[in-house]
Amino acid sequence: MFKNIVVPFLNILILVSLLLFIVPPQMIVKYLGAGSGAIGFAIAAVVGSITLIPGFISYPIASGLLKQGASYSTVAVFMTTLMMVGVVTLPLEIKYFGKRVAILRNLLNLIVAIVIGVLIGIIL
């Protein structure tokens, strides 16, 4: 079991590192910052869904975004999609749950993340 789990995990890490190079944190901050509005919100949801950024990189990014004047909803949708929706990890998820369930779970969680983002924007 160990080998079957660790090798795909390492492959995901390699993919994540490549993605972080193509889309560096500074670029994320630039596009999701103050006044990015609905487009920023949409970009946050898409970037968060596709990528998988480890916690100790994503939280500093999120905190930087807030300091920079990004809205709470944008940060909330970004953090939530990062955690709940994983396009990069989808192939692995399909191995566990099958195609239909894996895709359905990701879609539902994307919707949930958007709802969370909108509600956070209203509450805070």
Partner: protein
């Protein structure tokens, strides 16, 4: 090279290429390669912090907990108590979502209900205590509290929806 050999080494192709690429980058001073390697090591450190605990949980469940017992607590007729149990289990863990898939498999194998499996995954992605600590530190208590309170009913709803949708569709979780 025969097809059989290729199947054997196939899982390691990415790892091997990445190792060669990284060594090459440092050898020839290729900066993008160095940057990619550095973010790999950061993610790798995160991974080795959650993997041991993941194996302990999976191992414990697999060997020590009989199916009937787990089924009683988080199975089909476990109700609110079952939901609370899987949420607490998820809260005690750390790591990214894909680290929860092996646990989801073992829960499934031991008779957890569909609803509870997906509530477990939802709680895992939003309520892990180690993560909440970091989140409060970076984004403040107000943000963290609002996010968790909004997320909680939503992922429970996802669990109910998945159970309703998958009830008669031969749902299973595969061992990987």
């Amino acid at each position: 090279m025969t097809k059989k050999h290729f199947q054997k080494i196939k899982p390691y192709i990415w790892l091997a290429s990445f190792a060669i690429f990284s060594v090459g980058s440092f050898w020839f001073g290729f900066d993008p390669g160095k940057t990619i390697y550095q973010s790999f090591t950061k993610s790798f450190i995160e991974m080795i912090t959650f993997i041991p605990f993941l194996f302990i949980i999976v191992g414990l469940f697999d060997v020590w907990f009989p199916k009937e017992k787990i089924e009683k607590h988080i199975g089909k007729d476990s109700g609110i108590k079952g939901i609370l149990t899987v949420i607490v289990l998820a809260m005690l863990q750390a790591g990214p979502l894909y680290g929860a898939f092996p646990v989801a498999y073992i829960l499934y194998k031991k008779g957890a209900s569909i609803k509870n499996i997906f509530i477990y995954l939802g709680a895992f992605s939003t309520l892990k205590i180690p993560m909440l600590g970091i989140e409060i530190g970076y984004l403040g208590l107000k943000f963290t509290l609002a996010r968790t309170l909004v997320a909680l009913p939503l992922f429970i709803a996802v669990g109910y929806f998945m159970e309703w949708y998958l009830k008669n569709r031969n749902f299973k979780v595969n061992e990987v």
